[in-house]
Structure formats: structure tokens, C-alpha cells
């Protein structure tokens, strides 16, 4: 009863790519507001550990996901305070958040290694197996974020804060508040992304279990050229590469697993090469630069 090859690859790619999708969308919103958070991996780990612990304690995966999103939000607000409130260097603050997340998640999750939970249940639709609510909500979330960013005034203001905070300020917006909102929202999605791994996909917690997916997500933002709709494609391509190589192996074909794990970064390099000088798809102009107010 082996499943059709293409549908097996696709369904596994969607399942394993969901956490990447949420985390990347979160990072994208943060970067659209002009801030780059290299600590996303740490935020995902905090989400994964808090989500797993909360699911284990309360018995409800939904409470777990909620707790993870709040934990991610809180952790990212701390990062936001450093770079927006205190004007700290974004790269240094981001890397600090990475190591903070590694340590904090190990501390939170330490007691729950090996614990058994009932994971996020599949929402059954005819013909599709094993997709939980977060999987179904992934693409719509991307669409909503696209709409918010590109079709609403607040989205325009947020993008303005990322392109030129002084302009947003002149238009009557507070760039710092817009950036705080973006950072909070990004942390929420990063927490959800991490929790999808621990609460839904693997149903287990292990130290450092995101295994670099936070960095793949940062690479994906570039690959997607800061467009939420392209993130859906990107997440599918990246997780699809992994699903494909595992399915090929199960069929007896030989692929180097080490080469396959390079694919996300190779694709990002290719994206940078091809789209590097294209103004329309370039990064937010003020990305990585702190806004210190206007004279």
C-alpha cells in the first residue's frame, strides 16, 4: 500500500515545512520594519520548549501552542527593547538572543525530555491525511500578512519604518512603536513555528531540536525577496528538498544527505546572485540600521 510518490513527497514537505513557514513569516514582518533578528533560532527553541512543556502540563496542545506564541512574543519584545529601546547593535543583540534561547529552552525543557504528549490532532478533510490545524492555517496566514503589509495603511506605515524611519515619522507615525509591533508579531509566529515541531510534528522535545531551521528561515526571507507569498513557495521548496531525498532513499536511490542539507543555502546564494541588484526586490532600505529619531 505504498502511497503515490509525488503526493508522499508533497504531503511530507507540507508537514515538515509548516514550522519553517511560520518562523519565516515572522522574520519577514520584523525585517519589513527594518530590523533583522538573527536570534530567530533561539526564539523557535523557546517556543518549542514552552509549547511542549505547556502541552504536557495541561494536556492540551492548543494551550501549548498559545503558550509558545506568548513566550516567543515575550522573548522577541526583549530583543526589541534592546535594539529599539536601547539602540543596541541588531546583529549582536540577535546573536545574544540565539544563545539566550538555546540556554533558556534547555532549562525549560530539561524536565520534559522523553515525556509523552498527545500532539496537535489532525483535522481530517477528505483525501488528505494527518494535517493539523496549523498546517491548514499556514498559507492563509501568509495571505493575510501579504494583505496587511501591502493593502492597508498600517502595513504601508510599517514598511515605511523599514525603508526610511524618518519618512514614517514625518508622516505622523512613531517608527519605534511600529517596530515594536512587528517584533512582537514576529516573535509570536517564531514561537508558533518552534511549537509546531515539538507539539505537532515530532511530538517530542530535545535540546537544540530546531537544528538550524531558524537560520534557514532567515535565508528564506531573502529567497522570498521579503514577499510573504513567496515564503510559501520557499518553505515548500526547502522542506520539499528534504522530503524528496528521504523518499528517494526509502526507494533505494542514493543521495548524499549532507549535500541535501546544503540546498537551502545554495538556493539562497542563487537568489542573491540573480536578484541582488534588482531594486524592486531588494531588502528594506533601512534594514539593520537603528533609528535614533529626527532632529
Amino acid at each position: 500500500m505504498s502511497v503515490n510518490f509525488a503526493s508522499a513527497v508533497l504531503s511530507n514537505a507540507i508537514l515538515s515545512g509548516t514550522s519553517l513557514l511560520y518562523a519565516t513569516l515572522g522574520e519577514l514582518v520584523v525585517e519589513r520594519a527594518g530590523i533583522v533578528n538573527l536570534g530567530l533560532e533561539g526564539i523557535m527553541l523557546i517556543g518549542a520548549s514552552v509549547g511542549f512543556a505547556a502541552t504536557f502540563v495541561t494536556g492540551s496542545p492548543y494551550v501549548g501552542i498559545l503558550a509558545a506564541s506568548l513566550a516567543g512574543l515575550a522573548a522577541n519584545l526583549l530583543f526589541g527593547y534592546l535594539v529599539i529601546g536601547r539602540g543596541a547593535n541588531q546583529l549582536a543583540a540577535g546573536l545574544s538572543m540565539l544563545f539566550f534561547g538555546l540556554g533558556a529552552s534547555a532549562l525549560i525543557g530539561g524536565r520534559y525530555v522523553g515525556a509523552v504528549i498527545e500532539g496537535l490532532p489532525p483535522v481530517l478533510l477528505p483525501g488528505v491525511r494527518g494535517f493539523d490545524a496549523l498546517v491548514w492555517l499556514g498559507a492563509p496566514t501568509a495571505l493575510i500578512i501579504w494583505w496587511l503589509l501591502f493593502r492597508t495603511r498600517r502595513g504601508l506605515a510599517l514598511r515605511a519604518a523599514g525603508e526610511d524611519p524618518a519618512v514614517a515619522f514625518a508622516a505622523g507615525y512613531r517608527p519605534d512603536l511600529l517596530q515594536y509591533q512587528a517584533v512582537a508579531f514576529g516573535g509570536l509566529l517564531g514561537g508558533v513555528g518552534g511549537a509546531h515541531l515539538s507539539v505537532a510534528y515530532t511530538m517530542s522535545w530535545d535540546e537544540g531540536m530546531t537544528a538550524g531551521r531558524g537560520f534557514i528561515a532567515i535565508a528564506l526571507v531573502i529567497f522570498a525577496r521579503w514577499n510573504p507569498l513567496w515564503v510559501v513557495v520557499g518553505a515548500l521548496v526547502f522542506s520539499g528538498a528534504e522530503a524528496l531525498q528521504l523518499q528517494l532513499q526509502a526507494r533505494g536511490a542514493r543521495f548524499s544527505p549532507f549535500l541535501m542539507s546544503m540546498i537551502p543555502y545554495l538556493l539562497t546564494l542563487a537568489a542573491l546572485l540573480f536578484w541582488g541588484r534588482n531594486r524592486r526586490s531588494a531588502a528594506p532600505a533601512a534594514l539593520g540600521r537603528n533609528f535614533h529619531g529626527v532632529e
Binding site: V113, G114, T202, A211, A250
Partner: protein, 355 residues
């Protein structure tokens, strides 16, 4: 006058702690690469040391979990030596060089490393001879499968892991000539996301029994359980608790007797370094109890295979052909346990590429 009572208290504390330290017959340090609750490799090590502690009155056990295979492990072991450790179990393969260097600088401390090859006057080496022990696991899987497709998730395709897969298939073939093993390599001893994806891929390809050689079997066993697929565990027999429905049996390390004997030899100043490789027969490996779904006749077959291997049967006895049709072992030839590290081919019936 308030200082005097404090001073007295301090003296009392000193007096109270000193004899306690002297009372400890032996302080043993243990370093783990993962968590001791992983239902796998590290839990088996931890349970062995707990057994040693229980069997050796007055023994103090110092443990450190999640220690990476970097200079960090050197610092952790040095800290244990400062706390009086005279015997250190470096339980992960990548600790070898760090522990060996430290052993030269601390000739009065005995080091035992799991899985390596280095030797020194105060540096010994131990591991389970797992390959032959996988043969009875294959017998169990070959009898229980209905699709004749068995799934094997391998972390890193080292020779020992390839040997495990081969013995598993040889066991399965011995009772079911149609049984095939499909292998998926994740590229890491511990990556739960890839392990889940690998388990899914194998199930998609029709595997109805899953087994694995990764540090923690937990994720794959849980994935099998959730898909209504049977599972065979490895590393720790405790993994059985994870699959109340689909558990067949499993192979676990039983380090307790070896660790206890080592502690006793260090206490008696009779430690002799050796390269210890023991299997089912010597009791360094144990077979987990059967799951509820395993019929009595299958249990009897598996038990007979366990008995056979315990008495020295080597599954790697010719004629053996690899999965490309090349004769690897002729009639009468056999491959010893010491040759397993260099294996780079799968036996016929395994779907996968070893190189």
C-alpha cells in the same frame, strides 16, 4: 560576640563535611552527550551507572548531561577530577581524544570510553557487540511483517550501523525469504525532525515494521505508533513504554554489570585496561519483553535465535551476497565482530546504498 557562633558553626560544618568526603569509597564521574531521559543511548548509560551505584555501597556518582563533544567535555571531566573522581565514564564516541589526553595528565584516574579504540595504562574501552544481536530482532520483524517491507532509520552510516542493518535483514530472511529492509539515513545521530520525516517516508513506501539506529529511538517509535505501524527498539529497553500498541521487542544495552566490575577493580587498585566488546551471551545486551501483539510461536522463534546468538552463532557466515549481486563471503567464510567497523555494503534484500 556575634562572630563567635558563626565561626563555631563554620568549624562544625567543616567537621561535618570532611568525614563525609572521606567516607565515599569511590567517586565516579559520568559524562553524557544527551539527556538521560532519552529512552535511548544516554538513558541506557545512566541506568548502567545507577545499577553500579546501587551495587557498590559508599559510591558517589557525579553526572553531567548534554555535554558537547568539544573542549567543553575536557572542562567537565577536570571539574569531576577536582571533586575527587577516580573513575570517569566518557560515554560518547567523540569524547575519546579529550579523555585520552586527560588520562595522560591524571595517571591516578581511570577512564573508560565507550566505543573507541584507544588504550592506555589507565584508559580502557568498552562497547556492546551489537551486530549479531540484531539477528533475532530481524527474526521478530520477518515474522510480524505483512507487507514484507521493514523500515530502518540510520543516523550516520558508519560500518557498525551498516552491520546492524545487515544482521537485521539476515535474521528476517531466515524466517521470511520475501522480507526486505528499506534504509533511510538522516545524517545525524540526533535530529528529531528528520527522524520523523524518515519514518514517514518509510511508512509511505509500505514499511509496516520500523526500527532505528539513532541516539534516541523515541521519535521514530512514536511516529510508528501514531501511524499504527509496529516497532522494534534499540539502545534502551525502556523504549517499550512508548509503544503500548505496536511494540514487538527491542535491543538494549545492559551496562550495569560491566560498570560495577570496573568500579570494584578501581577500588581494589586492580584495574587492567582492556578493549571490552560483549554481546547477548555475556549479558552486555538485553532483549526487551515482547509486546502484546506478538504471538507465542513468534516469541519462541525469537527466543531460539537469541539463544543461538548467545552461544556464539555469527550471522555473518557465508555464503553472503551483497545487494548488488557481488559474493562477499563464500561458503565457510565468516566476518568477525572486529571487522564490522569497515563494512560498506548491504546484504541482498536491503534496499539502500551503503557508500
Amino acid at each position: 560576640m556575634t562572630k563567635l557562633p558563626m565561626l563555631m558553626a563554620a568549624c562544625l560544618l567543616l567537621l561535618a563535611t570532611r568525614p563525609a568526603q572521606a567516607e565515599s569509597a569511590l567517586t565516579v564521574g559520568a559524562v553524557y552527550v544527551g539527556s538521560v531521559n532519552d529512552y535511548g543511548y544516554n538513558q541506557a548509560m545512566h541506568e548502567g551507572l545507577e545499577a553500579m551505584k546501587a551495587a557498590t555501597p559508599g559510591l558517589t556518582l557525579l553526572e553531567a548531561e548534554n555535554v558537547p563533544e568539544t573542549a567543553e567535555v575536557d572542562r567537565v571531566m577536570q571539574g569531576m577530577i577536582q571533586q575527587g573522581a577516580k573513575l570517569i565514564f566518557a560515554t560518547s564516541f567523540g569524547y575519546q581524544q579529550f579523555a585520552f589526553d586527560l588520562s595522560k595528565r591524571n595517571p591516578d584516574v581511570v577512564f573508560e570510553h565507550a566505543g573507541g579504540w584507544m588504550q592506555g595504562p589507565n584508559f580502557g574501552n568498552f562497547f556492546g557487540a551489537t551486530q549479531a544481536a540484531w539477528y533475532p530482532m530481524g527474526v521478530a520483524a520477518g515474522k510480524m511483517t505483512k507487507s514484507n517491507t521493514l523500515g530502518f532509520v540510520v543516523g550516520v552510516p558508519i560500518g557498525f550501523a551498516i552491520g546492524n542493518v545487515n544482521a537485521f535483514e539476515l535474521g528476517a530472511r531466515s524466517v521470511n525469504p520475501k522480507a526486505q529492509v528499506r534504509v533511510v539515513v538522516t545524517g545525524s545521530w540526533s535530529d528529531k525532525t528528520k527522524e520523523t520525516a524518515a519514518a514517514n517516508a518509510l511508512i509511505d513506501q509500505g514499511a509496516d515494521v520500523l526500527t532505528m539506529h539513532v541516539d534516541s529511538p523515541a521519535t521514530i517509535i512514536r511516529a510508528a505508533e501514531n501511524h499504527g505501524v509496529l516497532s522494534i527498539g534499540f539502545q534502551s529497553v525502556a523504549a517499550r513504554a512508548l509503544a503500548p500498541k505496536g511494540w514487538i521487542t527491542g535491543l538494549g544495552f545492559n551496562w550495569g554489570p560491566f560498570m560495577t566490575a570496573t568500579a570494584k577493580s578501581v577500588m581494589a587498585h586492580e584495574f587492567k585496561p582492556a578493549m571490552v566488546r560483549e554481546g547477548l551471551g555475556e549479558g552486555m545486551l538485553a532483549v526487551a519483553p515482547f509486546g502484546a501483539k506478538v504471538p507465542k510461536d513468534v516469541q519462541a522463534l525469537v527466543n531460539a535465535a537469541v539463544e543461538k546468538v548467545s552461544k556464539g552463532y555469527n550471522p555473518f557466515t557465508g555464503p553472503i551476497t551483497d545487494n548488488k549481486g557481488v559474493v562477499r563471503l563464500k561458503e565457510g567464510e565468516s566476518l568477525g565482530g572486529d571487522k564490522m567497523g569497515g563494512l560498506d555494503w548491504y546484504v541482498a534484500g536491503v534496499i539502500g546504498e551503503a557508500k
